[in-house]
């Protein structure tokens, strides 16, 4: 434990500074939440590889290096964001730079009818009754060090509310841009999404950074879906290849709601995303899909946890891992079916493609089932490209790199093809193709 204590001290010092800066301005319940979180984090420290959930992901390098909190708003010219936002069209977007809301870069007008979206900092300054009933309720600080660290530094992020009986076609984009100014900084954005009864909406979270920049993003997103709500949630993780990225997505679903999560992850020297879904009532559908594509010395960790608490729940998971270079990947998917969750239908698939001899994958699908009238299945595969299929393509005059690129794309795009929103689907396909072109050295047209 000796190597952990100095690190938590370091973060505590940072927190004290943070409290002096902004502490007094927050409502009392927020201050209490932060203090409880810091106390819990100090108690736990950073996880070690001795812990089963962190066995293959070492965060030791975090405790070696201090990451001061990014405090100052950093101005980025709007044009600089153009290449990564042009696909969104004129739609409204919330932009955060180093975890802090940037009104200049954001465009909230016209906000779709009935929807309210804005910065958490702004919401905490005003009437915060709604926030108080949700914030910290789903992403619990008790047993997750990164959630407690995020909560301890809670100050800004996005808050989105979809009112009851509202259907919003237009996706809402939330961008988290990291731009450390010479020194490695950290940010802890916190997002809260509240979907009212019978509502329907689409939200896209993007995490962006410049290549080679070193920083730490420790994001937490809490999503709550009321009865019959339908939410499509996307995460486009394109952090810098030197960055540390942690994202915990905590989802609480009510009766007959449908939550769909799509993710594409290509960035981060060390990136870990966790999704915890709580299917708290009957007839809930939860669909999780993701593609992770990493190369070089990157490490990508994808964790999912689905908790079926009541009857007639359905969950589907499809995760694809593409690993090149010396990259290492982790997939850990857990399905928990409680005693009362009869008639549950839970499926999970994890396929991994190793593009190089030096890539490593650890996959651990888990089923924990306490009810008998259920259908639960999981499957996991690890393999490389089928040489016969490569030969087939080559025999038809396609070069070997192009053939491999095509097949890699075909492998990864299985999840992307299931995306219903055309604009987002095209963007995801484009990002995957870009990654393949960079990694395999050969571009191809879609």
């Amino acid at each position: 434990m000796n190597d952990i204590l100095p690190a938590t001290d370091l973060y505590r010092a940072e927190l004290l500074q943070f409290e002096r800066d902004v502490g007094g301005s927050a409502p009392v319940w927020v201050q209490q939440l932060r203090q409880a979180a810091m106390a819990r984090f100090t108690e736990m420290g950073f996880p070690t590889t001795q812990e089963e959930a962190w066995r293959h992901t070492s965060v030791a390098s975090l405790s070696e290096r201090p990451f001061p909190l990014a405090r100052h708003r950093c101005a980025i010219p709007k044009t600089e964001l153009e290449p990564v936002t042009s696909w969104m069209g004129a739609g409204c977007r919330l932009v955060f730079v180093n975890g802090l809301f940037s009104p200049l870069l954001s465009s909230l007008l016209p906000l779709p009818h009935g929807m309210s979206a804005g910065s958490l900092a702004g919401a905490l300054g005003g009437e915060s009754g709604l926030l108080e009933s949700h914030l910290g309720r789903y992403a619990r600080i008790e047993n997750h060090p990164f959630v407690s660290l995020n909560t301890a530094f809670l100050s800004d992020g996005a808050i989105v509310c979809i009112p009851p009986d509202t259907v919003i076609e237009e996706p809402l984009n939330v961008l988290f841009v990291s731009r450390p100014n010479g020194r490695a900084t950290m940010s802890h954005p916190r997002t809260v999404i509240v979907a009212g009864p019978n509502s329907r909406a689409t939200i896209v979270e993007s995490y962006l950074g410049l290549p080679e920049d070193l920083y730490l993003t420790n994001a937490v997103t809490e999503v709550v879906l009321a009865e019959n709500a339908v939410l499509d949630h996307y995460v486009l993780q394109q952090e810098s290849s030197a960055a540390f990225h942690f994202l915990t997505l905590a989802v609480h679903q009510d009766r007959h709601s449908t939550f769909t999560s799509h993710s594409l992850a290509t960035g981060g020297a060390l990136a870990r995303s966790e999704i915890h879904c709580e299917l708290a009532d009957e007839g809930i559908t939860c669909i999780l899909r993701g593609v992770g594509a990493v190369a070089g010395r990157q490490h990508l960790d994808m964790q999912t946890q689905i908790d079926h608490a009541k009857t007639h729940g359905t969950s589907q998971q499809l995760y694809k891992g593409i690993l090149g270079g010396h990259a290492s990947g982790v997939f850990n998917g857990k399905i928990l079916v409680r005693q009362d969750a009869q008639k549950t239908d839970a499926r999970q698939t994890n396929n991994n493609l190793l593009l190089s001899e030096d890539a490593v994958i650890h996959t651990k699908p888990q089923l924990e089932i306490f009810a008998d009238d259920v259908k639960c299945a999981h499957g996991a595969t690890v393999g490389r490209l089928d040489e016969e299929a490569v030969f087939y393509l080559r025999s038809r005059g396609i070069g070997v790199e192009t053939a491999r690129s095509l097949m890699t794309y075909a492998f990864g795009s299985e999840t992307i093809n299931l995306v219903t929103n055309e604009v987002i689907r095209d963007r995801l396909a484009e990002l995957l193709a870009q990654w393949i072109a960079q990694t395999c050295g050969r571009s191809f047209s879609l």
Binding site: E52, Q339, Q342, N352, L354, L355, S356, E357, D358, A359, V360, I361, H362, T363, K364, P365, Q366, L367, E368, I369, F370, A371, D372, D373, V374, K375, C376, A377, H378, G379, A380, T381, V382, G383, R384
Partner: protein, 480 residues
């Protein structure tokens, strides 16, 4: 409904094989210390190296803590309450079955192991372990003609100390884990088997373990060595008498397969599982591991686990030789409040090594059944292949089935597939069978036997029959 009641009766029926044979046992006082270990070693007339090894293991064990990661619950075990040595008080070593205590023979008959009949009819050599001392070894002469050594461990230590010294602890070192260390320190007997180069063992070797004296923890040690181009099939089966005290059973099995050798190891485990309230029963904490040391070698584990209050074992294969093959076939049935945390480890070190895992878990009543497995393919082990399937069947809404597989692949040329599912027996399946005149419990029995078919196929004929019978007796009729 009448059939339902009958089914419940069947499901809740008590353990058939629970009886105690009244034979005076010569036992050491309970507790564990260096003196007890010296006593065991002295009683066994062991050479010096064995005692040293035991003491080394004991001193290492003292530094270890009991593992907590398994998905099982039990009150803490007091290791000082256990009697570590007891031997039936039959003074001289019997030379033939005629010299064996008739009471002992009667016990075996009750268990359905007629030694004589087996000797004549089945052609099986039996090394029966009664508590801790080997009682009778048959067919030894026939085996000896081919150079095969099959005897009690204590005998092997005296007759073939070089072989034992060379191989013992090479697959499961004394420092391997808490229970392996404990076993190493206090094991009293077990089986030893050596198949020389180029020999195909002409018969199925088998051994029956039985716990007899009260408050006894039995710690067997089995070592099987298959030299180049040899083949052996080994069967292990066990039932235990009824008892209200928890009993600890921590065995160690080591297999060594050299170039082109093949070892098949089959287990039917039917220790006393405790009563329907979860009282009593055996704690079965076993370390089983095989090493495919040579090229083209093969180790195959088959297990049918129906007994024990808690089963905790992971028969593993270290695939060291190129092109070697590891297999694991398992049926684990848990009823009442039984807990099973079982599975396998396949460690691929050699190139083009293959492993197959087929696991079937059946859970009824309040039982918890866990599959825990590891498939690890190291960087230099190119061209490896693994296929895993683990299926669980739930009968009743108070039981649980859990699957914790772990897959580590460190190169791109290897291919790994894993699939798992959890279901219950469908109403329509039962209906289909009943429509054709089968009773409800026959239908369940048919479906479960079909569910386990892949595994039973791997068992030698006589075991397959016994295993199916066991399942029918223990499991019939938990129609949901």
């Amino acid at each position: 409904m009448a059939p339902t009641e009958r089914i419940r009766d069947l499901a809740e029926q008590e353990y058939k094989y629970g009886f105690v044979t009244d034979i005076e046992a010569e036992a050491a006082p309970p507790g564990l210390n260096e003196d007890i270990i010296r006593l065991i070693s002295a009683k066994k007339k062991e050479p010096e190296f064995m005692l040293e090894w035991r003491l080394k293991a004991y001193r290492h064990w003292l530094t270890m803590t009991e593992p907590q990661w398994a998905n099982v619950r039990h009150p803490p075990i007091n290791y000082q309450d256990i009697v570590y040595y007891s031997a039936p008080k039959t003074q001289k070593q019997p030379k033939s079955l005629n010299e064996v205590d008739p009471l002992l023979l009667a016990t075996y008959r009750k268990l359905g192991i007629p030694l004589r009949e087996q000797e004549v009819l089945a052609g099986v050599a039996v090394d029966a372990v009664f508590d801790s001392v080997s009682v009778a070894t048959t067919f030894k002469e026939q085996l000896a003609k081919q150079g095969i050594i099959f005897c009690a461990f204590s005998e092997a230590v005296q007759q073939h100390p070089d072989l034992v010294h060379k191989h013992l602890g090479t697959v499961v070192p004394y420092s391997d884990n808490f229970f392996a260390a404990l076993n190493t320190a206090v094991f009293s007997d077990g089986s030893f088997c050596y198949i020389p180069k180029g020999v195909r063992c002409p018969m199925e070797l088998s051994t029956y373990f039985r716990i007899n004296a009260p408050f006894i923890g039995q710690f067997e040690r089995t070592l099987i060595i298959a030299e180049e181009d040899s083949y052996v099939s080994y069967l292990e089966g066990c039932t235990a008498p009824m008892r209200s005290e928890h009993q600890l059973h921590a065995a160690v099995v080591e297999l060594r397969a050299h170039d082109r050798a093949q070892i098949r190891y089959a287990t039917v485990q039917n220790w006393y599982p405790g009563d329907s309230a979860g009282q009593g029963g055996i704690y079965n904490f076993v370390t089983k591991r095989g090493a495919c040391l040579g090229v083209d070698s093969k180790i195959s584990w088959t297990q049918v686990e129906v007994g024990s209050a808690i089963t905790w074992k992971y028969p593993s294969v270290i695939l060291q030789g190129n092109n070697s093959i590891g297999e694991f076939y398992s049926v684990a049935l848990t009823t009442h409040r039984q807990q099973a945390d079982t599975g396998t480890k396949m460690i691929h070190l050699g190139r083009n090594t293959k492993s197959t895992i087929v696991s079937k878990g059946i859970s009824t009543g309040f039982a918890q059944n866990t599959y825990r497995g590891l498939v690890k393919i190291l960087k230099k082990a190119s061209g490896c292949r693994n296929y895993t399937q683990c299926h669980s069947l739930l009968l009743g809404n108070r039981c649980g089935a859990h699957t914790f597989p772990s897959i580590d692949v460190q190169n791109a040329s290897s291919q790994v597939e894993h699939e798992a599912s959890t279901t219950r027996i469908g109403e329509d399946q039962i209906f289909y069978c009943r429509q054709r005149g089968l009773s409800a419990e026959d239908a369940v029995s048919l479906i479960v036997n079909g569910f386990c078919h892949d595994v039973f196929q791997q068992l030698p004929m006589e075991f397959a029959v016994e295993a199916q019978k066991l399942l029918n007796v223990r499991l019939e009729g938990t129609v949901g």
